[in-house]
Symmetry: C2
Subunit: 261 residues, 2 copies
């Protein structure tokens, strides 16, 4: 709909910048809380030889991968709007790759801690695990499809353009599913630790972690869904309709968050 | 961005219709499951004199109000696209009013069942309750603001137009928060019922309920975020720029779901 814009275009990004910083603050607090939760209230972090403590890597790595890094990777097209598009795509892919590695190790931590517990715990019985594993599978499929579509040079441009809105919408849904899984995981851990209703320090930390995750996710959602904060193609991208700039204007009306990547 | 369109415009809605029916099927199954969950696996439904069974109204009424009705009320602008805009707005408001009544009774059920249990259970300690009560408060504020802005006749049109994208985005966030709260609530109930890891029938129903809710919500999210399925203003709304048609074209680029209401 909005094809090449006249430039220079002025965007008032002061509120965007404020909310972006706020999102990073809440994302940062979430990481601090999940570390504190594992280190001080859930017996600390350790390797696979101590299944109970090895487990603690699960919430930490999942929060890092599926919430913090995935969120920032979605935000990157608007947060680093002055970078060239190919560079943004590479950073987006690299961040998602790091997130994926964290997720794989995070999954190993939870499976190991179940399998090697004194009394082994079944895997994949809870709603948390069903939604979580679905999010991870969708994440992997989306990562592969995105990589092939947008970074492999031989893909037809028309195919790229048609896939982009689906990629954006799929990413949004995976991010929301990840959030649901995180909140259910926190709920499980808080209840399993007993005395949740008395709200001991560990449960307070768990709840606060959940609240920070929700605020972070809502801020990301808001920042990438506001059309006023849409990334405007750089001057050189507008002048030269290069290979990579052709996707610029196809997703703006996709309706989902992150419609400008 | 997209102002008055030439008409008649052809929209291929066959896939929309298929997915819409699918959404109603999964929403319907969710209701059946939450009733079965209460009736057969959680000691049945009863009035306030039996706190344990009175509780069962909580998941039922919340699923009805915050998931099923709220979802369909968001969908209505696209599902009943041939209705006139003022009628759609009235149905949207009426559905949200019904949802709100369900939610209030659903909250009373959980507070009562906590307060009047043999051993009273504290209120509002869990992450589920924190996120859930936030969703309800935001729902109430949004309902009031929406009612005043879009149905009270004396509000300035420019104010309406400016509020609409925020209303749409706010509604999306409340719907997602409600989903998170529902999934955490199911997780809580499944764990409190013990033996969750053995996946007894009640836990299977709880998990299946969660999966149906997630599929319903994702279908709603998809259907209202696809620009191809956007409601096109009726001929008479296009010819006559009446009071109510002025909002038609302001939210299309809001980026969030339901951008056409």
């Amino acid at each position: 709909m909005d094809t090449y814009q006249d430039f220079p275009i002025r965007q008032d990004l002061s509120f965007f910048n404020f909310l972006f910083i706020l999102s990073q603050v809440f994302g940062g607090i979430a990481i601090v809380l999940v570390v504190a939760w594992g280190a001080y209230y859930n017996q600390g972090f350790a390797g696979p030889s101590s299944p109970g403590q090895w487990f603690n890597w699960h919430p930490l790595l999942m929060t890092l991968g599926l919430i913090a890094i995935q969120g920032d990777s979605i935000l990157i097209y608007r947060a680093l709007r002055n970078e060239a598009k190919p560079r943004l795509k590479s950073i987006h892919a690299a961040l998602h790759f790091v997130a994926f590695v964290f997720v794989v190790v995070g999954l190993k931590a939870v499976f190991d801690s179940h399998n090697y517990a004194k009394t082994p715990i079944p895997n994949l019985y809870s709603l948390h695990s069903w939604i979580g594993i679905s999010a991870v599978i969708m994440f992997a499929v989306q990562f592969l499809a995105g990589f092939v579509s947008f970074l492999y040079p031989r893909v037809r441009k028309s195919l790229r353009s048609r896939y982009l809105p689906l990629h954006v919408l799929g990413g949004t849904m995976i991010f929301i599913l990840s959030t649901c899984a995180a909140l259910m995981g926190i709920t499980e851990k808080n209840i399993f630790n007993k005395d949740y209703h008395k709200l001991p320090a560990g449960a307070q930390i768990g709840n606060a972690l959940g609240v920070c995750i929700v605020i972070f996710v809502m801020l990301v959602f808001y920042l990438v869904s506001q059309p006023a904060y849409k990334r405007i193609a750089l001057a050189e991208e507008q002048v030269l309709p290069l290979d990579y700039s052709e996707e610029e204007n196809t997703a703006g009306n996709s309706g989902a968050i992150g419609g400008d990547n």
